[in-house]
């Protein structure tokens, strides 16, 4: 059964130095508040896994939490580069960042294999690209039935997956809806799962297209209204596109980024 606790307790109990951590949410429902809590708790040497690292991992990378990044598209959607990611890859600031990159289809299938409890998944992908030469966990595999050559990708099994959802009930069952991304697979692939929610409700009412994760699958649930911002939670908030646009200037420069982090993330521990 999931325990309903504070965000700080949920992160402290589940995210440790050196862990492989997946924080998922495909544009929608990105667990930004949980990311900030990882920064405040000064976790180090994390292997961060996420299809689209996005602003959330730009912040964690810039704060020095990550040793390695496993991903498939590292940009600020519709805006441009992730400057902290680029600074880490191109200049090793604040610490060198090892990368392992895939395609979206490859990453989605790696989670799917992890969730299914099998060591790899099969897809038509990567063939003819330069990705396999630089990326672990991609190999040719021959179909035993047709003889056709396909691509195998290794399962991802995070130590912990963190996601954001719209609602939980008091028992810690969770429901999310709208763009549901790869969160179900990422949670099922992981040893532990933390969910932040907009709201704890008396009763979960089934939603069209909604995904319900039963409490017994999850480690901890924390109520964090607005916990996806600047991402969004459908029916609770809208994507703060202005923030994504503003992030370009905030993150471009090390000093501006550090000042932003101090004012908007660290201050919550010191100031309150």
């Amino acid at each position: 059964m999931a325990e309903i606790v504070s965000l700080a307790e949920a992160i402290a109990a589940n995210v440790h130095d050196g862990d492989t951590v997946a924080m998922e949410g495909f544009t929608h429902l990105i667990p930004h508040a949980a990311g900030h809590e990882v920064i405040r708790q000064r976790r180090r040497d994390l292997t961060l896994v996420r299809m689209t690292p996005d602003v959330i991992y730009d912040q964690l990378i810039g704060a020095g939490c990550a040793r390695k990044l496993i991903f498939s598209w590292a940009g600020n959607p519709g805006v441009g580069s992730l400057h902290r990611f680029r600074d880490a890859v191109e200049n090793g600031w604040p610490v060198p960042l090892e990368i392992e990159e895939h395609s979206h289809a490859g990453m989605a299938n790696r989670y799917l294999a992890g969730a299914s409890g099998v060591p790899f998944a099969i897809l038509r992908g990567y063939r003819g690209t330069d990705l396999p030469a630089h990326t672990a966990g991609v190999a040719d595999v021959v179909c035993p039935f047709t003889g056709e050559t396909l691509t195998a990708v290794a399962a991802i099994k995070p130590d912990v997956t963190v996601i954001h959802a719209q609602q939980a009930d008091r028992l810690g069952n969770v429901q999310y809806w709208g763009i549901t991304g790869v969160q179900k697979e990422a949670v099922l692939a992981a040893s532990r799962a933390v969910v932040t929610v907009e709201e704890v409700v008396e009763e979960l009412v089934p939603r069209p297209g909604g995904v319900v994760l039963p409490s017994w699958l999850l480690s901890h649930v924390a109520e964090v209204p607005g916990g996806a911002h600047p991402s969004y939670a459908q029916d609770y908030s809208v994507r703060d596109n202005d923030f994504y646009l503003a992030w370009d200037a905030i993150s471009r420069d090390r000093a501006t980024f550090t000042a932003w982090l101090e004012e908007h993330v660290q201050v919550l521990v010191r100031g309150k």
Binding site: P77, L82, G128, L245
Partner: protein, 255 residues
């Protein structure tokens, strides 16, 4: 009405999409063109975004592939593994609409690294995203990007998504099921693969454009089709709808 070369490019890209087609849409210029097509001659164009939104009908231009308006107006919203495995991979989708940072004479796309080597690149780009499998599996691919010697190179620094590989027969050998890039639409004209050599060849030019100028802005010795056609300028209606759409995009978005 007067118009810019970017508007000419977007209108040309939109015209290629026929009503009722299914279209896997990348963000930026492709999304702008696909939404223009849906707002003009192709009201039943099915827009599919990699966030799992199938049949999205946004009234305003989204900033990301996962803006709320895409999910709220979609015929169906599916998970990310499902959009790639069930919808894209089997070859159900007519056209993949992509952008690129670098493109070579065989239509191979680079969105990964430029300059230096992979471990120590001069410029680190966002990477693959959905593009490799979109380029492999859609029945055909259309690429939209601005043309310069920097973007149109003899050989890409990194093959992120395969066009025609190293020439005729490559796609078949690799088991890529779709027909590959059938049109590259730029701010100077339209390039199409030569049926025999697969090399991208200039087949369309805009009013007032010169083939020699296009050659100068290409990083390989660009061949000009014997049947080079002039593309009709944007109609007033196309420009009005496009400008209306662009006005709805968030201020400062990369285009």
């Amino acid at each position: 009405m007067t118009y810019t070369s970017d508007e000419m490019m977007t209108v040309t890209a939109a015209r290629v999409l026929r009503d009722g087609m299914t279209c896997f849409v990348g963000i930026g210029l492709p999304s702008e063109a696909a939404n223009l097509a849906r707002a003009t001659h192709a009201p039943n164009l099915v827009l599919i975004y990699e966030s799992g939104t199938i049949g999205a009908k946004p009234g305003t231009l989204p900033l990301s592939i996962g803006d709320g308006i895409l999910a709220q107006t979609a015929d169906s919203v599916v998970s990310v593994p499902e959009i790639f495995n069930y919808w894209l991979q089997p070859g159900r989708i007519d056209v993949g609409f992509l952008g690129a940072a670098q493109l070579d004479r065989f239509g191979n796309i680079n969105t990964t690294v430029i300059g230096g080597d992979y471990a120590d690149p001069k410029v680190r780009l966002p990477g693959a995203g959905g593009a490799p499998e979109i380029a492999a599996a859609c029945r055909e691919v259309i690429v939209v990007l601005r043309q310069s010697r920097r973007t149109f190179v003899d050989k890409v620094d990194f093959i992120t998504s395969v066009g025609f590989g190293d020439g005729p027969g490559s796609r078949e050998r690799l088991g890529l099921t779709g027909a590959g890039p059938q049109r590259i639409i730029t701010d100077l004209g339209v390039l199409q693969p030569d049926p025999a050599t697969c090399e991208l060849t200039l087949t369309g030019i805009y009013p007032g454009g010169l083939a020699g100028e296009v050659k100068e802005r290409t990083g390989w010795d660009l061949r000009i089709s014997a049947d080079l056609k002039e593309i009709a300028p944007p109609a007033d209606h196309e420009l009005e709808v496009l400008r209306g759409l662009v006005a709805t995009a968030p201020q400062g978005a990369t285009r």
